[in-house]
Symmetry: C2
Subunit: 127 residues, 2 copies
Amino acid sequence: MSQRVVYEDSNFILKYNPFETPWYILYTKGEYKEFSHMPKDQREYIFEYLYIIEKAILEYFKPTKINIASFGNYYPKVHWHIIARFENDSFFPESVWGQKQRSSIISLPPLEPFEIKLTKELKECCI
Amino acid sequence: MSQRVVYEDSNFILKYNPFETPWYILYTKGEYKEFSHMPKDQREYIFEYLYIIEKAILEYFKPTKINIASFGNYYPKVHWHIIARFENDSFFPESVWGQKQRSSIISLPPLEPFEIKLTKELKECCI
């Protein structure tokens, strides 16, 4: 399965990354290799968006922990991962880029109502 | 080697995490499990600090890429990793939590002048 667009505006695209737990990636449309290369207003958007996405994931999926990361070693253009982690997921407490700990199937509520609400919140936030 | 305090103010502590490349960790002093649990002003400080630290690392060490992450699966209290990555470091292009790719020794300029300048910038920024 490939990534699926959940939300888009003039500066950002949010995609769902198929995984056993909710994993979203916030991509910048501008050609910025590093976070500090971005203009201040776009950096502020990112943190407001991360806040909204994290809060929505916590409320709806009730994960054990949220993991946030911005690497870009393979794809050197700013993008941020926001991942819901559960204590019984396949990698916990390691990062999802770490060593697999077990084989898990996580039972989750449907994504669609979550993404409808999240999209609405992102739209209302800052555009 | 254990972590070493580089900077501290009323809300945050910045530590150097001994590694083959520059790795700093920004800890919150408040008891916040998740980023979105923090008050808005402290979230804003974090992003201003991450910006300053990233910019300083890029200028001084000239790494291939900056990696930023906030997990907290082992230690569920908000802290952010800021790591300089080089294309010939032991893990690149994997994350430093991933599979080791090779054994490397990275040649770096001394930390002390960098940390003196960084501390000054953090102090002048927001306190």
